[in-house]
Symmetry: C2
């Protein structure tokens, strides 16, 4: 099944992962096949167990295989694979000591807000250095000229390389449009879609995108993103111009769209002459496996609009994101926006291009990923210890947030108020639903990027005290 | 008519200007009044002739009075004042020597492009200094947080003061929305106007704004901005939600909307429950008088949306502009854009706020104004000498561009091609018209901010050689 070449330039992990993946994708390893156990395969191939484990984990995250209790991994079929939720049930219960009973209820000491970071996470000195260098070294005539509406060529070239390497995105710099945030990119798309004013969106899904589409006169077709998966069959009848989705880390559920669902979506887009808007908003943060390749990387029919951002990896207030347009949309883009300029400062783009070119950015992302991985692990561990099976954690393994589900039912409003009184701010998920839904009534939304490990521990202990005891 | 108090804190110029203005506005100096000659008034008041001249010029630019050939100034009436065009007819003809016959026709050496500047016009060292200072001194926690959708408070406070001082704009920082360019601001307005999808625009008018409105599904009502003035009477029947205009320097004609037309527009907006979008795109550059006060400063009914930019004064690629919303639009703005962030980098805004606060910006604007004044004067002088009465110059006294009219008729395409062959790039005005119009067939558009005085002279001499001789 797998052949190892110890002299090959590809790593042992890559050889195992890629051969299994192509075998499954081509059908030569058919659906339902039980893969050899990790120990068996590592012995057979003469490689480390960790290597096999890493390859299996990656294939599982991408939806090619799934773990079976006590019986290794099964190859998944494409027919009826559910939308995979990275669901985590805390099972052990332990009595963590709560020594914070004198909490000041007036002040929010622990804010589980999403998207903001501690201030020391911005690479100020590198930014200062590159700014000075650009203003000193470069031809700065662009500072006094209107900019290309797609953004600086230097940044687009760097992004093309970076996106190919990190997300498998395949494009030329001519397809990249630098923007000043998701709203900017979606606004452009709304105009590119012309008279069609209906779009498919995950339900629940990102309320910011929904607000943007509403402001552009769009109505919605709901792609239900709960335990029953994305209902792609009915999409055929939806009569939409595009589907806006977060396939690599569903916002807010945190699930990963399986490779079969991805292919089904791509097929739908081709057959219905529609587009898929892939919002890859936090792809840098994958802790249990390598980042899942982008949907765009699977697209051979020029149907995926890929959108990414520097907001989560570098700074939310820098206001730089990027969009990769399918080639078929380029002519319309140039026709409709002929008088537009880039919305992002040339200087900012040039500094960013240098930061990417020197490797500083990749290094920064690795550092941040390691910081947040620790926060993620502490969050999981502490939730397990404090809440046991009273709480189900959604969204494990990636990103910067969790959903807490109270399977026994609860009053979310009461939980939020009790936490607030104890100095901990947690959030409702209701804004993510277009139509108020009963299923949001036992879910709490918690971002953890603003807090350090110690604070996360302390806050979860407080929550246990005010919620459970 | 005018009383001078030499001990007053107001300058002599201000006393003459303000007293005449309020006398005319209140009707105590009625329409048709012939003002005393400059020499007479200066003698009567015991002040310098220059002072009186300056006050009269300013009042004339603002449309309160108008010069009569050989007979001083007449007070204008509000009833039927035409849209004033700063029209300049070159009258003297002189044989400037053309010594550039060996021009290389392949290369454009002289580009009369609009909006771009020479690269040494950006204050790089000040920018570098303030960037370092912000990253070193300030609380940079905002760098790692999503920003207020209206922009940095510090910049909005600076802008409020600056706009009040320089343009008479009266607003609180709560009304200011920092944007990344005119398109951004207009996009927001399109959404604020709701279901109404028709707007009044000058014809000719700025094609960039027109493209933006078209992309938002708008149709147009044409406010004809030629020799017959803006037809404001028919506006009542236009059924539009707003009028987008450039009252202080009509783009492209360069005319100034008279104070009476301004008041008529304001009255229309109030009576029809509409808005006026005042695009004050190049207000910093007024050479023959002080800048004309903004339309917003005359508005007592909360009907004017004021838009300004740093593109002409500082850098077109910095991508920072600002919009002052009427108070009555604020609730809708906050409701519709609740999930939006500022489109401009927090760092850029903070650096800009410092540059304004330290007075560096005002100083820079004065310097640039003096540079462009010289270019403007050379352009006028050289056109007069080279073209005599074969060309009428439109847009004298302000801004960064001229319209050249060939009253005898001509083929614009031929002129553009001949210039191009001789290394000089000039532009058609046709893009400014929504419906192709015969009146654009004898007009050439020329921006002069990219060239220095010497180059302007050389280029106009070349144009004479290829156009006239």
């Amino acid at each position: 099944m797998v052949y190892i070449d110890k002299d090959a330039s590809a790593s042992l992990y890559e050889q195992v992962y890629l051969q299994l993946k192509s075998g499954i994708a081509s059908g030569s390893i058919p659906e339902g096949t039980r893969l050899p156990g990790i120990r068996t395969l590592s012995k057979t191939l003469g490689i480390a167990r960790n290597t096999v484990n890493k390859a299996y984990t990656q294939l599982a995250v991408e939806g090619y295989i799934s773990p079976r209790k006590g019986s290794g991994f099964l190859v998944e079929g494409g027919s009826d694979t559910p939308f995979r939720k990275m669901e985590y049930s805390s099972t052990s219960e332990s009595g963590g000591h709560d020594n914070l009973s004198q909490e000041n209820s007036e002040k929010i000491e622990y804010d589980f807000q999403y998207g903001n970071f501690p201030h020391n996470c911005f690479p100020s000195s590198a930014w200062k250095k590159h700014t000075s260098a650009v203003l000193r070294d470069e031809d700065t005539s662009c500072l006094t000229q209107y900019s290309n509406k797609q953004g600086n060529l230097s940044l687009r070239q760097e992004l093309r390389t970076y996106l190919h390497h990190s997300r498998g995105v395949c494009c030329s710099e001519e397809q990249i449009v630098i923007g000043c945030g998701l709203h900017y990119s979606l606004d452009i798309l709304c105009k590119l879609f012309g008279n069609c004013k209906k779009i498919a969106m995950e339900e629940p899904g990102y309320y910011g995108a929904r607000e943007l589409f509403k402001n552009n006169g769009f109505s919605f077709y709901a792609l239900v993103a709960d335990k029953d998966g994305l209902d792609l069959d009915s999409l055929k009848l939806a009569d939409v111009c595009a589907a806006y989705i977060t396939p690599s880390h569903q916002f807010p559920f945190g699930s990963v769209l399986s490779v079969y669902k991805r292919k089904k979506l791509l097929k739908w887009a081709t057959e219905s002459n529609s587009f898929i808007i892939e919002d890859d908003y936090d792809s840098e943060y994958r802790y249990d496996a390598n980042p899942v390749p982008s949907l765009q990387s699977l697209d051979s029919n020029d149907r995926v609009i890929y959108i990414g951002t520097f907001s989560k990896s570098l700074s939310p207030s820098l206001r730089v994101n990027y969009m990769v347009l399918p080639k078929r949309l380029l002519a319309d883009y140039h026709r409709l926006f002929s008088s537009y300029s880039s919305p992002v400062s040339w200087l900012t783009q040039e500094v960013l291009a240098r930061y990417l070119a020197t490797g500083g950015y990749a290094q920064h992302v690795r550092k941040m990923c390691s910081v947040y991985r620790k926060c993620h692990d502490v969050f999981v561990q502490e939730c397990t210890e404090q809440f046991g099976n009273q709480v189900v954690l959604h969204g494990r393994g990636a990103g910067l947030h969790f959903l807490l589900e109270f399977p026994g039912g609860t009053s979310i409003e009461r939980l939020i108020n009790k936490a607030e009184e104890a100095g901990v701010r947690v959030y409702s998920v209701q804004p993510f639903w277009d139509c108020p839904d009963i299923s949001s009534n036992n879910l709490i939304f918690m971002g953890y990027s603003l807090l350090d490990e110690k604070k996360i521990c302390d806050a979860i202990r407080i929550l246990r005290r005010v919620w459970i005891e």
